[in-house]
């Protein structure tokens, strides 16, 4: 079991841990606004058609036909309108990310609460070799810290390897790697998951039906994620593979190690995305320089394609530029989904406060996500999505489990309401 995991985790580990960053799609189109002369006015008329009436656009149209004095005014106007638009659509982006994150967490919590397989201890991953079965607290803490160090080093090595491959344009290798990891997730893990769910509900299924179902599920998933497919189907598949990966982590990471790893990985995320030589930042910047999307298997995007007509100024792609602006959404790395779900799933699995703790962690993570999106709207560059949410989540987990639970239990036993 462990060796299989080593092979699969190689690709998944790295693949899923690359996915921790939050990118806004709006920055590239914004650059094209200030450049062209005709682009802004055409953009304005189309982009703001939902909110603006024709009245506000006509002054800029009139300006456009004038000489240079019209341009700085229009630039400032475009700036202000952009900010407004960012704030207004900021709320929309928050909702667009709330729904998938919530769905992923619901799937994980529902599975944890009903299928006992994922809460049973059945060995550990090869990346966390130290066991936590020791009697003394100090030894247990030491073991969990050592496990974390090993895990994070593996993640760092994999990330750097991926960035190096990407920089030297070894696209075939990366694609092969990603395809292998998605294959493993979509077929093997789904098979195990389905098996356990059927066992829990005592439903009999013959191998033929099983093969048919899993083959279809997996094949459609591969096509949707790596090639083309309806947006919602692709999003659904990404949510499902994130949930499956999170369940694997919840099962195979020992308790204390899991919490320390969550803390350490949010610090790593902060460093990797914000430091100038951080691997994730380099990945994002290289992708933006080359005007390529980051691999679809690593990122959840809340809206359509963004490769269409990026910075060209000719008439044909002007229309396309607006399409990207209009349907520009926010992108969230799949690693973020996974670690959010790991936190909430662990809270559901191990907290003695039952649902109160789970709900508190859930709200904390969503608020963290809101704050991160707010920062994204302000800074307009790739930001790490893990630190704020995971910090809130951890704080709320420990405090709710130890402080709020006894209080609420005492209140409930006397049937008091606050």
């Amino acid at each position: 079991m462990m060796i299989t995991f080593m092979n699969s985790s190689d690709s998944e580990e790295e693949a899923c841990n690359e996915r921790t960053s939050l990118i806004s799609v709006e920055s590239p189109p914004a650059a094209s606004y200030q450049d062209g002369l005709q682009a802004p006015e055409a953009a304005e008329t189309q982009t703001y058609r939902k909110r603006r009436t024709g009245g506000s656009c006509s002054p800029s149209d009139a300006d456009g036909s004038n000489s240079d004095s019209g341009i700085p005014v229009r630039d400032i106007a475009v700036d202000n309108k952009e900010e407004e638009l960012t704030l207004k659509y900021g709320a929309k982006h928050v909702i667009m990310l709330f729904v998938p994150v919530t769905l992923c967490m619901i799937v994980v919590v529902a599975t944890i609460k009903s299928v006992r397989f994922y809460t049973e201890k059945n060995g550990q991953l090869i990346y966390t070799p130290f066991s936590e079965d020791t009697p003394s607290v100090g030894q247990r803490l030491l073991n969990s810290v050592l496990n974390t160090i090993i895990m994070i080093s593996v993640i760092i090595v994999m990330t750097v390897f991926l960035v190096v491959l990407y920089k030297y344009r070894c696209y075939k290798f990366i694609h092969g790697w990603l395809i292998l990891s998605s294959l493993m997730l979509l077929f093997l893990f789904t098979y195990i998951y389905l098996g356990e769910v059927l066992k829990t509900y005592n439903v009999a299924m013959d191998y033929l039906t099983l093969f048919f179902v899993i083959w279809n599920f997996g094949a459609v998933g591969m096509i949707c994620i790596h090639w083309k497919g309806p947006l919602h189907l692709q999003q659904a598949y990404l949510i499902m593979i994130s949930a499956l990966m999170a369940l694997v982590f919840i099962k195979y990471l020992p308790e204390w190690s899991a919490w320390v790893i969550l803390g350490a990985i949010s610090i790593y995320d902060l460093i990797a995305v914000l430091c100038p030589r951080g691997p994730l930042r380099m990945l994002v910047e290289t992708a933006q320089e080359r005007n390529e999307p980051i691999f679809p298997a690593l990122i959840y995007s809340s809206a359509m394609v963004w490769t269409v007509g990026m910075a060209k100024q000719d008439a044909a792609s002007r229309v396309l530029t607006q399409q990207t602006w209009d349907s520009g959404g926010v992108k969230l790395g799949l690693g973020d989904f996974i670690f959010y779900s790991v936190l909430v799933g662990k809270a559901a699995a191990t907290a003695s406060g039952d649902w109160n703790t789970t709900l508190a962690c859930f709200v904390a993570i969503l608020i963290g996500l809101c704050l991160t999106l707010l920062l994204l709207a302000v800074f307009k560059k790739a930001l790490p999505a893990l630190p704020i949410s995971i910090t809130f989540g951890l704080v709320f987990y420990f405090s709710t489990d130890n402080l709020v639970r006894p209080f609420m239990d005492t209140l409930a036993s006397h049937q008091l309401y606050i």
Partner: protein, 243 residues
């Protein structure tokens, strides 16, 4: 169920959904702080004496109620600042969300979190095997909990509306009344195995607060009549406006 109905009134795409969530967070933080205080108090005071425990519990409840109201006020201040910020940026349009809507959403967020925290564990227990009241407690435990939670959720909404309006118009007596009624409702739950003493007055207070909130939010008997007979022109026009 009522909460679901009310929740549907806010479409998920509106920005108020975001405020709902942050409101729940504020309630959670207030609960956390009051539990911390209660926990410390229990650790300090002796934990063997039953009457001391009861007194500490009363202290915990009162402190929690007061802290919730403080956080409601803090949230009001935060929203005013955010609104001001939004208004300075968008100079032409009016504020995207009115204070009344904000107060409704804030009350709803508070109410949902409070209701969920009170009721979810009881609901999960109700699924499992067991007999209600086998040790001499009331056999109507689940039912009364459900009704009480409903009353509390609706009360939070009404309190939110009245509270924000009182802060806007600086009617401090209204503010004090809201806090007092919250303390009263929580205090009534101390009578709890005698549900006539706690449920009935709570529902009466809820109806009173409801009518007060209705009139504060600008309702009137005439409006109500027009609305019920589907003749309210403003409402009909508003629904036909393209989104």
């Amino acid at each position: 169920m009522v909460v679901c109905m009310l929740g549907c009134l806010l479409s998920p795409a509106s920005p108020s959904f975001f405020f709902l969530n942050s409101r729940g967070f504020f309630w959670l933080v207030s609960l956390l702080l009051s539990s911390l205080v209660w926990f410390i108090a229990v650790q300090i005071g002796g934990s063997n004496n039953a009457s001391v425990k009861k007194n500490l519990l009363i202290f915990g409840v009162v402190f929690s109620v007061l802290l919730q109201e403080v956080f409601r006020f803090a949230y009001y201040k935060l929203l005013k600042k955010a609104n001001k910020g939004l208004m300075t940026i968008s100079q032409e349009e009016t504020i995207p969300i009115s204070v009344r809507q904000l107060s409704y959403v804030s009350g709803l967020g508070f109410g949902i979190m409070s209701g969920v925290f009170s009721l979810v564990n009881i609901l999960t227990d109700s699924l499992g095997p067991g007999t209600v009241g086998i040790y001499g407690d009331s056999p109507q435990y689940f039912l009364s909990s459900a009704f009480m939670t409903l009353a509390i959720v609706l009360l939070h909404i009404f309190w939110g509306i009245v509270f924000f309006d009182a802060c806007e118009k600086k009617k401090w007596w209204a503010l004090a009344l809201v806090i007092l009624s919250h303390l009263l409702v929580s205090g009534l739950t101390f009578l709890n195995p005698q549900y006539e003493g706690s449920l009935v007055p709570s529902y009466i207070i809820m109806m009173l607060m409801g009518t007060w909130a209705f009139f504060t939010a600008g309702g009137s008997l005439r409006n109500l009549k027009l609305c019920l007979m589907c003749r309210d022109k403003d409402f009909l026009l508003a629904n036909q406006r393209p989104r």
